[in-house]
Amino acid sequence: MDIVVCIKQVPETTEVKIDPQTKTLVREGIPGIVNPFDMYAIEEGLRLKERYGGKVKVLTMGPPQAEDALREALAMGADEAVLLSDKALAGSDTLATSYALSMAVRKLGYDLVICGKQAVDGDTAQVGPEMAEHLGVPFVAWVRKVEEVSDGKIKVQRLMDDGYEVLEMPLPALITVVKEINEPRLPSLRGKMRARKAQIPVWTVEDIGADPSRVGLEGSPTQVVRVFTPERRAGGEILQGEPEEVADKLVEKLEAMGVI
């Protein structure tokens, strides 16, 4: 089974802090990491390969330094890696990104595409489902277990808010996985050595045969017009009043902040 795992390099967001004076992101020394949810996708790809044979190919779209993310996947045991990198892709929103990735996936060849459920920088969870549409294959999001692959079909468990659903679909297909699915392995030394030496091909928009008008800023229907720091209350606000009153105030504030 040929498995393509799509990954993204993201800043290590747990280290992203707001400078209290300038109210901007402090990003000095923030390393690029493989999007944590994609680690589960890589691991699941490797496990399926171990169960059913085949190859695991990892794909990422990003600037040249995104190659590091691919090497990490190779160190874990992926067989091949491809970097989709082209200045023409800058500014791509999820629709343009999913289109470009789907063209690269087609070129790679696949029976199953695995994506992490979302990237922790954008948090959109849209690229996976949109890719499925571009590829014209069935898909299931929020997969927490792959039960089995047989007779050209894949049976998976989809995590829902109230439990899980067992679903079956024919291959080729696409799934996005949640963290409950597995525990990603660490790289091995032999894997790291192999990854260090690996030649990673870089594909351009032309290489994947994509329509230039459908990628980059031009191909993106959505447009980010403003980025700003949310208003944050300084710590240590003491809520006062009778228990019912403070309960009301607290719930209101927590709702306004979107934490509950």
Binding site: V16, A125, E133, V140, G163, K179, G236, L250
Partner: protein, 397 residues
């Protein structure tokens, strides 16, 4: 190709843009220099430049004839035949948007949910319900849901479609957007109308909530967005409110799903893993005894969170070690941490102080926990916590 242009005559190299760039793509060498490898064209620098020296060079977009699209739609999600609360939240915000545009608000609903439930959508603000009352849409499948929604939108051309950012919405809505070849903004926390341009102004958090982004879909229709659950209030109910119900018969190819449901297994959440929990409610010595953890559990359950504990409570044998937060227990960083009756010894603080929002409830105003708390409540937890539970129960309805 699109890029950020530095207008040389205006730039003084002040560095305001360097601080504003979330991607570290700008450095100052006398003037601002953009690293195009890193630049994502987000426009934060353009906004930040006090001198107007940065400009996002316009690009020619291949858009659609947007004037042909009218009206606001909300997708009213149902699960096992029951319309979910997020639908009413969407009706509330959708109503406001429709009024601002002077357009009708349509609720789209799939599956045999019954006339009463459909009428309820009208009571909650819909002018019109577009109802695909088909057994084959009772169970959620991406193929059918995306297919039927896209089919409806192609035929009726709404200018806005909103959907809840739920497990179902975040799965099929992107697929529908891709089918329609339009933009989709995920997990919005704010939606407004730019009346001048008739545009939906979508605001959403990114980078784990560290920054907010405002997003437009200027040249494509419909403008699609998923909306975070529980951010908007539910629409008020107006019994007897009138509206039109339009039954929709989907095309057969859109009723065929390539995924088939083998079984559904209901799982009531019991214990959430502390490290993974978005919300943690913790109890400490102030609880006074193991029986009082029931309060903490109730609050945690209401919030869909996990139960934590301080070392003091664990050492006293009130709750198993697996719940311990702190140096010797788990280190956690949930979105919300509620500390009840925990004084906040260093050993506890190091394990939880990176939480996004910290609420502390403690009798002692001098307790160190208040120094790290976003919100502090000085009071008896046996009064405050039950009041909070009451309030949350009412909120859940």
């Amino acid at each position: 190709m699109a890029r950020i242009k530095v207008i040389e005559e205006k730039c003084t190299g002040c560095g305001a843009c360097v601080d504003a760039c979330p991607f570290g793509a700008i450095r100052v060498e006398e003037m601002a220099v953009i690293d195009e490898e890193k630049c994502t064209l987000c426009g934060a620098c353009v906004e930040a430049c006090p001198l107007g020296a940065l400009k996002l060079e316009e690009v020619v977009r291949t858009g659609m004839d947007t004037s042909k699209y009218r009206g606001v739609w909300v997708f009213a999600e149902q699960r096992h035949g029951k319309v979910s609360g997020v639908a009413y939240e969407l009706l509330n915000v959708g109503r406001r948007l429709a009024d601002d545009l002077g357009e009708k608000l349509t609720a789209v609903v799939f599956g045999p949910i019954g006339e009463d439930a459909v009428r309820e959508l009208i009571y909650r603000g819909a002018d019109r319900v577009l109802w695909a009352d088909d057994e084959r849409l009772a169970q959620f499948h991406d193929d059918t849901y995306a297919g039927v929604l896209a089919e409806m939108a192609q035929a009726e051309r709404p200018e806005i479609i909103l959907c809840g950012a739920t497990s179902i919405g975040r799965s099929f809505f992107p697929k529908a957007a891709a089918k329609l070849g339009t933009g989709l903004t995920a997990d919005c926390t704010g939606l407004e109308i730019d009346k001048e341009r008739r545009l939906l102004v979508q605001t959403r958090p990114a980078f784990g909530g560290n920054i907010m982004a405002t997003i437009l879909t200027p040249d494509h229709r419909p403008q699609m967005a998923t909306v975070r659950h529980k951010v908007m209030k539910e629409a008020p109910r107006q019994e007897g409110r009138e509206g039109e119900v339009v039954k929709w018969s989907p095309r057969p190819e859109n009723l065929a799903s390539r995924t088939t449901l083998v079984e559904f297994v209901e799982e009531v959440e019991e214990t959430v893993n502390l490290a993974d929990a978005d919300i943690i409610v913790s109890g400490g010595r102030g609880l006074g005894g193991p029986e009082n953890f029931a309060l903490i559990r109730e609050l945690a359950m209401l919030l869909g969170g996990a139960v934590g504990a301080s070392r003091a409570a664990v050492d006293a044998g009130w709750i198993p070690y697996s719940h311990q937060v702190g140096q010797t227990g788990r280190t956690v960083s949930p979105k919300l941490y509620i500390a009840c009756g925990i004084s906040g010894a260093i050993q506890h603080l190091v394990g939880m102080q990176s939480s996004d929002v910290i609420v502390a409830i403690n009798k002692d105003p001098e307790a160190p926990i208040f120094k790290v708390a976003t919100f502090g409540i000085v009071g008896d937890l046996f009064e405050v916590v039950p009041a909070l539970i009451e309030r949350l129960k009412r909120r859940k309805g």
